[in-house]
């Protein structure tokens, strides 16, 4: 570690060289001039053109340095890296033509920009030092292994790439498996997650092996961690294990529809700690710890199939023949496009109400998340059908009258008025 610090301070030696300072000064001056110009004279230099203008100034500076036979490579490299960074900002707009916005955002923030920063750092360090030599700088011993900078950087890089980059190949493989095995979409998503975890797990083991970590030492660390798990991060670990269990069990998988506090919610993502669900009613996303599903009762509409039996209630006047009403209700349900023909809708006379005979119309729908919309459509269809067939939907009538108070005293009528 001392050597690493010595290396970093060693690079400062370059800052003592006038040629280095001149090159940096050109770059800083170009940035300041273009910034000032864009701010004070936005008509002359639009903010969007600030960076290209600054880079043109840098190019001019490089030309002057070259004419003066002074080193100019550092300025040119920094300017090119700046240009690349600026161009990287334009790339998402282009990608959004072919990819969803969220995917582009993820790609940009998790892969493109970190990769560019890494590349830029390597290019710059390559100007100051020899990367191969730097990689051999010892950082100390870790679990019986002499850790060098190269090993550490490689391990971190591979781990990061595994975490970020395992998703697309896993999705591809899961898609292929779905095609071959004819599994459902939910199972494909579960398979995708499992493949992703497997790749990350195997990758981490390979990284540990590449580092030369002693397996006995790893077991000892795992033993120590298990004690820590018992006290400190019990909840995190519990959620992780619950998540894995649910995934293997297949009860909570991406695409499943669960009833959460009376609302159907679709599982969007099963994370290591919590499950992300989407609620249609208010477009809210719910983040629920995995162990809740593991310990509490949950209602699923998609455990074995995605169909849901739904129901609307309606009252009809006593004078109508219940058999005719039932036939009409069942026929009406079949008129609604999103109501399934099979299993067939079923109407029932449920009870004798105070002012009406109470019926229930039960029908099946394909997607549980569409329940509210389809119920509305069925209710509208019933209203139209009852109107057409002359079937009355009775409702209690309220009659308001004035009651004398105290009874028998004519003058007390106003004072004794009671609210109805």
């Amino acid at each position: 570690m001392t050597e690493l610090l010595q290396m970093l301070t060693g690079w400062l030696g370059y800052l003592e060289r006038p040629s280095t300072l001149i090159q940096l000064a050109i770059l800083i001056a170009a940035a300041l001039i273009s910034g000032q110009l864009a701010r004070r004279h936005p008509r002359a230099l639009r903010p969007a053109l600030k960076i290209p203008f600054a880079l043109m100034l840098v190019a001019l500076g490089c030309l002057l340095l070259r004419l003066a036979s002074l080193p100019w490579g550092l300025t040119a490299i920094l300017a090119l890296l700046w240009l690349g960074w600026w161009a990287l900002g334009l790339l998402p707009h282009l990608l959004e033509r072919w990819m969803p916005e969220e995917a582009v955002r993820h790609l940009e923030s998790r892969l493109l920009r970190p990769a560019y920063l890494l590349m830029a750092s390597l290019v710059l360090i390559g100007e100051f030092d020899n990367l191969t030599s730097m990689a051999t700088i010892p950082l100390g011993r870790f679990l019986g292994v002499d850790l060098t900078m190269g090993k550490l950087v490689n391990a971190l890089l591979v781990t990061y790439l595994l975490l970020v980059g395992s998703q697309p190949p896993a999705a591809g493989l899961a898609w292929l498996m779905q095609r071959m095995l004819r599994i459902s979409d939910g199972s494909r998503r579960a398979l995708e997650l499992m493949i992703s975890y497997l790749v990350v797990g195997l990758g981490l083991v390979t990284v540990a092996d590449h580092l030369g970590l002693n397996s006995n030492a790893l077991i000892a660390v795992a033993g120590g961690l298990s004690v820590g798990l018992g006290f400190g991060i019990k909840e995190v670990f519990s959620n992780f294990v619950s998540g894995m269990w649910l995934l293997f069990e297949g009860s909570v998988r991406p695409g499943e529809v669960l009833m959460i506090e009376g609302d159907p919610c679709e599982v969007r993502r099963l994370g290591l700690r919590a499950t992300l669900l989407w609620r249609d009613r208010d477009n809210a996303e719910l983040l629920i710890p995995n162990q809740n599903f593991f310990t509490d009762q949950a209602t699923s509409y998609t455990a074995t199939d995605r169909m849901r039996r739904s129901q609307v209630s309606v009252g009809a006047a006593y004078r109508h023949d219940p058999a005719a009403v039932i036939t009409l209700l069942e026929a009406t349900a079949l008129e609604v496009p999103r109501v399934l023909r099979q299993p067939a809708p079923k109407a029932l006379l449920l009870s004798y109400g105070e002012s009406s005979l109470n019926y229930a119309l039960r029908f099946w729908i394909e997607n549980p998340m569409d329940n509210v919309g389809i119920c509305s459509e069925v209710n509208q269809a019933i209203w139209c059908a009852f109107g057409r067939e002359g079937i009355e939907i009775p409702f209690p009538q309220q009659v308001q009258y004035e009651m004398p108070w105290p009874p028998g005293e004519p003058g007390a009528a106003q004072a004794g008025k009671r609210p109805q």
Partner: protein, 431 residues
């Protein structure tokens, strides 16, 4: 403190810096702060510190890895500790570079003005660096009078300028496992006899590591004669044919293995699978670590009537072109310090892997077999000076072409008779 060294932070006349440029301000402030912190840690004498950036060249035989880094680090530490007693404000930062790509790498760095202040390289690399305009001629000084004149002459360019200051000599010797080979072979015949007796021998195909056999087979004068541009005589052809025939004979031995990679041969020796190999003196610590007291060191085997001709490396310190005056001064002070008799003796006796360039320092050869072998290798190597000079001035691809030809000979694809005219063409720099 020399405040002029601080990078200038541009002044923004606006009362509040705009939010769109916080990164720029942050970077400028961080640079200023770090520089100030670094320069603020002045030496006890109050002088601002100077960081001396050193590039160390590694040969083809050396793989840049943690172990090599440690070895150089320890060598540097030894020198640095003594040097900093005299110059406490000077600090060091070294990096390893493969010499075969050093010129190319440094050309690129020179473009940015970021090349090192000091190069610690072999004589050949020092000539290349000066030729490419990456280093500057080393100025003459009184202390150079102590250096062996032959070495100093080797370091001079055609116009007499000194490419770098010779500091140490790294020798080409033989390493053997004394459990498998109690006595090192003193001659080429003894080497072949040892292999016939059951000792596995490793030989390189790399020309520089195989040129010692030119002297032992008596072919060295023929090589230098042809390389000097003279038409090959009958004796030259016979001598070159003799060398190639010896290589063919050696490769026909059951227990002689040719290695394309010196590191691999060293590995085999360290693991006890080989009994004898030619080796560089700088690898002794690594081999000693693995073989312990079973590592034997001896000079390379001579011939019947001639000495072996090992190519020894002279390590020189060459000055970078783009240094600040203070860094140049520090580089000069450090290189001059490195040829101080006390330092030369200390480094030699502290490592037993190098020899001094100071002609006045005598080595206690009778007390150490290793030192004795090193001194003998130095004497043997004096005859290859002309060869190395000729190699340096000719086609830079010639060593690679020679290696290809040697490989064809030792793998039996070319007979010595077929290979001799091709070798002559190569030595004459003919396509």
């Amino acid at each position: 403190m020399d405040l002029m060294l601080l990078p200038s932070v541009p002044h923004d006349p606006a009362p509040h810096p705009p939010a769109s440029r916080p990164l720029l301000w942050l970077a400028a402030s961080a640079t200023a702060a770090v520089t100030a912190a670094a320069l603020g840690s002045c030496s006890p004498q109050g002088e601002p510190p100077v960081v001396l950036l050193i590039a160390i060249g590694t040969s083809q035989d050396q793989v840049i890895n943690g172990q090599l880094h440690r070895e150089f680090r320890e060598q540097q530490k030894r020198l640095e500790q003594s040097f900093r007693q005299l110059h406490p404000s000077i600090r060091f930062r070294f990096s390893l570079y493969p010499e075969e790509r050093l010129v190319e790498t440094m050309r690129r760095r020179q473009w940015s003005g970021l090349e090192p202040d000091l190069f610690y390289v072999t004589s050949r690399a020092a000539h290349q660096l000066l030729g490419a305009g990456i280093t500057t001629p080393y100025p003459a000084s009184a202390q150079q009078g102590r250096i062996e004149p032959t070495l100093l002459r080797l370091e001079r360019d055609r116009d007499g300028t000194l490419t770098g200051l010779p500091v140490l000599q790294q020798l080409h010797i033989s390493c053997f496992n004394n459990r498998r080979l109690p006595q090192p072979p003193a001659s080429l015949d003894a080497l072949v006899a040892a292999s016939a007796a059951g000792a596995p021998i490793g030989l390189p195909v790399n020309p520089e590591n195989l040129f010692w056999t030119l002297g032992s087979t008596g072919a060295l004068p023929a090589v230098t004669h042809v390389m000097s541009g003279n038409p090959p005589t009958k004796q030259d052809r016979q001598a070159l044919g003799r060398w190639l025939a010896w290589l063919t004979n050696a490769s026909n031995q059951q227990r002689v293995v040719f290695y394309g990679n010196q590191e691999m041969a060293e590995q085999e020796l360290a693991e006890g699978r080989l009994a004898w190999i030619p080796c560089r003196s700088t690898t002794l610590p690594r081999l000693r670590q693995r073989l312990g007291t079973h590592l034997g060191v001896a000079p390379l085997p001579d011939g019947d009537n001639s000495m072996a001709s090992p190519v020894n490396y002279i390590r020189v310190m060459a000055l970078g072109r783009n240094s600040t005056p203070r860094a140049r001064q520090a580089a000069m002070a450090f290189s001059t310090f490195a040829i101080n008799p006390l330092v030369q003796r200390g480094v030699t006796l502290g490592s037993y892997t190098v020899l001094p360039v100071d002609r006045q320092i005598s080595m206690p050869v009778s007390s150490s077999q290793t030192l004795s072998a090193l001194v003998r290798a130095r004497d043997q190597g004096l005859q290859t000076d002309q060869l190395m000079r000729l190699l340096r001035s000719g086609d830079q691809q010639r060593p690679a072409k020679l290696q290809a030809l040697i490989s064809e000979v030792v793998f039996g694809e070319l007979s010595p008779e077929q290979a001799t005219p091709r070798l002559i063409n190569l030595l004459q720099d003919k396509p």
